[in-house]
Subunit: 314 residues, 2 copies
């Protein structure tokens, strides 16, 4: 038992990151059934789709699960209403102002966690009354902070100002990294990338295979003039990154990015022209596994690392 | 005793990174006397200056110390000759091909370590016969790799292909981070930034004060079209970074950078117009301390973290 397992009433302090196009009800339910906390990623769902995923998730698991809500979409009010109506026990908010919904969600008995990438927003989220924080480092996949602070530096920095439960994200796909994150001051971890390469992820099999094939240095943070996003290096990445480095305007970048790039890559499997959001840690992910096995490995590796480090003094 | 302390015949597996303008004989000798491995940074020294520093270092400590040699300067042959003549026991090479000097240095009984930032160069250095590797993450100060892999991901990635002693660098200024790095697979750590804010560093006091004042998000990796370098955000940084983001050519960037920017900032103390190379971890460095106290803190914090994590199972 630690602060995270107590807060969410789960067995292991392992959160499956809520991701667009990858984490529907099947993944969330599988993770929760295996003792972690599964999150449905609402970012890529219409309200009606989300409602369906929540209903299916409730049918598939009796364990706690949550929904990740990026606060940047016009339909957020509607989404929050569905979450409350469906009595989802946990909400992770990201990409927006934590002050907007935290009190409202908590009034409905929901545990609220906010994702941050710097100290300033950590303080803002704590002020808003969140129950826990996810501090996400530069190495994480998908949308990312402007400061580019890595997990190694971000976790102790946030810990300096944070007394509430702290979840580390970014660069974590093994039990050893989980143990390292907790040595740095985290109470638990969130990993998205590791679960993209799971059997239950709704990601297209082409994308899952690309994640497994990815090696050292195969992702990069780009689109810094819009919102920084970490992508697998493919044809689309090279095109947009070259544009950015040549000094292209926000407008030009947005035009080339177009609409539905992420869906095209991650959900429809166009690994050349689509946007493939994944963390640096893809280089350490070598096979597609069932979510249950992923949790089992994380736990085993964590305990092995603990054994190896046990009593180490210098 | 571990692989690193055995290799260098030192007490603690803590290396003080060799840095331009910051790590002369006084710092290196102080670190070695305190039980770590001090490194003189040859990168900012003329051969004659380096010779003087080596002689003074030998007079100031009977303990092993080393010299860091970036392999990109025209006078490298001359520098290597001085190191051999002066019987320096350890050489760290960086920023160049490890095949060039490793065998030659080892033939003279010198322990050779090479600094890398990706798996490919790790393999190249191992092939060249180095005795150990420093794997340096994206969060590190000064010159940095193109792949931008963070310490959290780089250490386990390199560990996958590396059986020789492995030293983690980047994001490490506390004993907790040192412990985390070792949980990730490192045998020891190198920290430059923490020692910039030491009494013995040859850095200008203005620069040391800036490091201590720096907070979360106050450094950034820039000049990616030349050689990526992590700088403290000051007037010079803002000028050059804006230029880069507007699509300026390598030539234009080199022209604005000019010569001796790093000396101006770090050694002469012009914190506005000079180049201030420091790691993200500056945000976790809160006071200027004697090198001996820094080592003492790292050791104490490491052992405290070990105690805190002891027997943790999930």
């Amino acid at each position: 038992m630690n602060k995270i397992t107590t807060l969410f009433n789960i067995r292991y302090p392992i959160i499956q990151g809520g991701m667009i196009w990858c984490s529907g009800w099947e993944l969330a339910a599988a993770v929760s059934n295996a003792g972690g906390l599964g999150l449905i990623g609402a970012g890529s769902m219409y309200p009606e789709t989300l409602k369906e995923h929540i209903k299916k998730c409730k049918a598939a698991t009796g364990k706690p699960f949550g929904v990740n809500v990026p606060l940047l979409y016009p339909q957020t009010d509607e989404i929050i209403k569905i979450i409350i109506d469906e009595k989802v026990p946990v909400v992770f908010t990201s990409a927006g102002n934590p002050a907007k919904y935290t009190a409202f969600l908590k009034d409905h008995g929901i545990t609220v966690v906010h994702v941050i990438a710097n100290k300033k927003f950590a303080l803002k989220a704590i002020d808003a009354g969140v129950d826990a924080l996810v501090a996400e480092g530069f190495e994480a996949g998908g949308h990312n902070g402007f400061e580019e602070t890595t997990t190694m530096v971000l976790i102790p920095s946030v810990r300096e100002v944070c007394d509430i439960p702290l979840i580390a994200a970014g660069g974590i796909a093994t039990g050893a990294a989980m143990y390292a994150a907790m040595a740095l001051g985290a109470d638990g971890v969130q990993t998205g990338s590791r679960f993209v390469a799971s059997e239950e992820a709704s990601a297209h099999i082409n994308f899952k295979k690309k994640v497994v094939e990815a090696g050292d240095g195969d992702t990069y943070l780009t689109l810094k003039k819009l919102v920084p996003v970490r992508l697998l290096k493919n044809e689309f990445f090279r095109q947009i990154h070259e544009l950015e480095m040549s000094g292209a305007s926000r407008e030009k970048l947005a035009e080339v990015l177009g609409r539905a790039r992420a869906k095209k890559g991650m959900f429809e499997g166009d690994t050349k022209e689509g946007e493939l959001e994944i963390g640096q840690v893809a280089g350490l992910i070598h096979e597609i596994l069932p979510a249950e096995k992923i949790i089992e490995n994380l736990v085993r590796e964590f305990n092995e690392t603990s054994e190896r480090m046990s009593g180490m003094k210098i």
